[in-house]
C-alpha cells in the first residue's frame, strides 16, 4: 500500500481542486442543448465529461480521507467556491458584484468554522 502523509494528501487535493469546478463548467455548458447532450453524447461530450470530472474529484477526495482527517481536508472544499466563481466569470461572462463576494466569503468562513467544530 502506498503511504501518503496528510501533507501530501492536502497538496494533491489543492492541485486537483479545479477538477470539480471545471466539471461544473462543462455540465453548465452541456445544458445549453440538453437534447443533443443526452442523445448525441459523443459529438456533444461536455455534459458527460462534466459528470466524469465531478465523479473523479469526489473519488479522489474520498480516497484522500483515508490518509488525513476530515477536519484537515474539509476546509479545502472552500477552494471549489472560489474556482467556480472565477471560471463562471471567465467562461460565461457572469457579473461579479459585492454581494456575491461577501456571500462566498461568508460561506468560506462557515466551512472553516464547521471544520473547527467537528
Amino acid at each position: 500500500m502506498i503511504n501518503i502523509t496528510p501533507l501530501i494528501a492536502i497538496i494533491i487535493l489543492i492541485v486537483t481542486s479545479p477538477l470539480g469546478p471545471y466539471g461544473m463548467i462543462f455540465i453548465k455548458y452541456g445544458t445549453k442543448d440538453l437534447r443533443k447532450s443526452i442523445f448525441h453524447p459523443i459529438k456533444n461530450y461536455h455534459l458527460f465529461l462534466g459528470f466524469f470530472m465531478l465523479g473523479v474529484s469526489f473519488i479522489l477526495y474520498a480516497v484522500m480521507l483515508r490518509f488525513a482527517d476530515v477536519t484537515t481536508l474539509y476546509p479545502l472544499t472552500a477552494l471549489g467556491y472560489v474556482w467556480t466563481t472565477f471560471l463562471s466569470v471567465k467562461h460565461f461572462n457572469e457579473k461579479i458584484n459585492i454581494y456575491k463576494i461577501i456571500g462566498i466569503s461568508l460561506i468560506i468562513i462557515s466551512i472553516i468554522l464547521v471544520s473547527i467544530g467537528s
Partner: protein, 130 residues
C-alpha cells in the same frame, strides 16, 4: 442571464436530497466491507448513490436556467441539512462552531442570491432592456 426563481428552489431541493445521500453514505461506511459481493448488498450505499444521482439530475436541469456563480454556492446549504440530520438522526454533537457555521452559511447564500442578476428591481429593468 437572469437566474430563475425555480432554478434557485430546485438547487435548494437538490441540497436536501444530497444531504440525505450523505447521511446514507455515512451509514454505509459504518457497515462497509471490502468484499465485492457484499458491496452491492449494502443497501445504505445503494440508497446514497441513487439519491446522489437524483440530486445530480436536478442540479443539471437547474444549471440551464441560471448563473453558475449564483447556483453553485447554494450547494453549501447542504452543510445545514447534514448538521441537523446528523444531530437528530445519528445523535452527533452540535457545538457553537457548527451552529455559527450554519448561521454564516445561511447569510452567505442570502448574499449570493441578492447578487444574482434579476434579483433586484434595478437589475431586472436593466436585463429587460437587453
Amino acid at each position: 442571464m437572469v437566474t430563475s426563481k425555480f432554478a434557485i428552489m430546485g438547487m435548494v431541493i437538490c441540497t436536501l436530497i444530497t444531504a440525505a445521500g450523505q447521511i446514507f453514505l455515512k451509514l454505509a461506511a459504518d457497515n462497509f466491507s471490502p468484499d465485492l459481493s457484499l458491496v452491492f448488498k449494502n443497501y445504505y450505499l445503494m440508497a446514497a448513490l441513487i439519491l446522489y444521482a437524483i440530486g445530480l439530475v436536478i442540479m443539471t436541469l437547474c444549471y440551464k436556467y441560471g448563473e453558475l456563480s449564483v447556483l453553485y454556492p447554494i450547494i453549501s446549504l447542504s452543510f445545514i441539512w447534514v448538521s441537523l440530520l446528523s444531530f437528530f438522526w445519528l445523535g452527533e454533537s452540535l457545538n457553537a462552531f457548527k451552529i455559527g457555521g450554519v448561521v454564516l452559511t445561511v447569510l452567505g447564500v442570502s448574499f449570493v442570491g441578492k447578487g444574482a442578476n434579476g434579483s433586484t428591481k434595478r437589475n431586472t429593468n436593466r436585463s429587460r432592456k437587453r
